[in-house]
Homo-oligomer: 216 residues x 2
DNA sequence: ACCTGAACACCGTTCAAGT
DNA sequence: ACCTGAACACCGTTCAAGT
């Protein structure tokens, strides 16, 4: 078969297939041979389009970053920084929660990924425009990433086994209900995210007022 | 050689060697063959002591959870819930930051790991004792884990490449200084963690007062 | 330029064989 | 009980060969 007159692969097709495979079966399931089989080619063919398997995953990650809504940071948008930050975090988490198994790749940071850099640029720019000193704006970008990636990386509630016998009341006197967490993981994790996000932004607002008071 | 009269391996030796290997070279470097070689045995020998490679990593993770200070949650401790939560988060992060490459394993939750369960038990019990409703105490445990694992999983600052040319000012008008982040990553990430932790706890204190005011 | 099969140096895990 | 080598079904990546 050798070289077809019409290429069988493209970067787009590879990224789409890799994304679907990660979502369906997880990062471990993505092998070059498996991915190539899904695309109807042999393993080494992928190396005509990407330098390494990791570069494929980076491209998938950037596609996910591209789903994050940034419109709340537009110059013309009327939302104040608290509301903008909240709405952005919700969209950020939603994009990651759609592809939880990709979060370890996204957590590596933007690197040279364009969509990742656009996110960092938008939030930093908006916080500075709202009156935060640049060093604080950087910290806000960082701490929001900690919180959102942490919440999307793995379910808190699903981290507890579904088996009442696992929680010996003599060892763990307060975990008598922990075996119920897994069943309600959606509610628990959503609630914790909302509570945490609210607390984070309320706390930042306090800090903002302190700085306002101190500065001229 | 077959079976020696004195066993060559023990769970403890395997866990110690695996931990050292993860710290030195990362999770990807831990293969059963590599680990066995480090211990002077052949690969399959490990299966006499652990059912799978993953069980070895779980054991390493539990050893790290065992390093987290929980004394601030003791009944006799005089710290109020805000201070206790702060001091715990600092110790929690320090334990994880000592072994950042293990964080993806720790982020899976306690599962059946005893040290992981002790942490969950202590923080939940202390929050309830401080007056938080159980559902809120659960959320606090969850959101703290989001924030701490997110901050330990990967450096925010090191997620940006060290190359000024990567930040085209026409594409990313606010990232003119981003190439300096990697150089100061320690300061940046520490500062963001402290700012975020303070904001989180200040925000929770506001919520606590609201509940106090609303309840009888 | 873009695909192929063969090859290299790896994986996790099982299992029969040894003591 | 606890170690071994052989084996199975995999890996990521390189490379010469094909068109």
């Amino acid at each position: 078969m050798a070289r077809p007159r019409k290429p069988m692969l493209s970067r787009e097709r590879i990224v789409a297939a890799a994304g679907a495979l990660v979502d369906a079966e997880g990062l471990e399931a993505v092998s070059t041979r498996r991915l190539a089989a899904e695309l109807g080619v042999s393993g080494p063919s992928l190396y005509n389009h990407f330098r390494t398997k990791d570069a494929i995953l980076e491209a998938v990650a950037d596609a996910v970053s591209g789903q994050i809504d940034l419109s709340m940071f537009d110059e013309g948008d009327a939302r104040d920084w608290r509301t903008a930050l909240h709405d952005w975090a919700v969209s950020y988490r939603a994009a990651l929660a759609d592809h939880p198994r990709l979060v370890p790749v996204l957590a590596r940071g933007p690197g040279r990924r364009p969509a990742g850099l656009r996110v960092a640029d938008a939030v930093f720019g908006a916080m500075v425009r709202a009156g935060w000193p640049p060093a604080q704006a950087t910290r806000i970008g960082a701490l929001m990433r900690y919180f959102v990636t942490g919440s999307a990386l793995s379910s808190f509630a699903q981290g507890f086994v579904d088996d009442a016998a696992a929680y010996d009341p003599r060892e763990y006197p307060h975990l008598g209900q922990a075996h119920l967490l897994a069943e309600h993981h959606h509610r628990v994790d959503e609630g914790a995210f909302e509570t945490g996000l609210r607390a984070l932004i309320d706390g930042l607002a306090l800090e903002y007022e302190r700085q306002r008071g101190a500065a001229p």
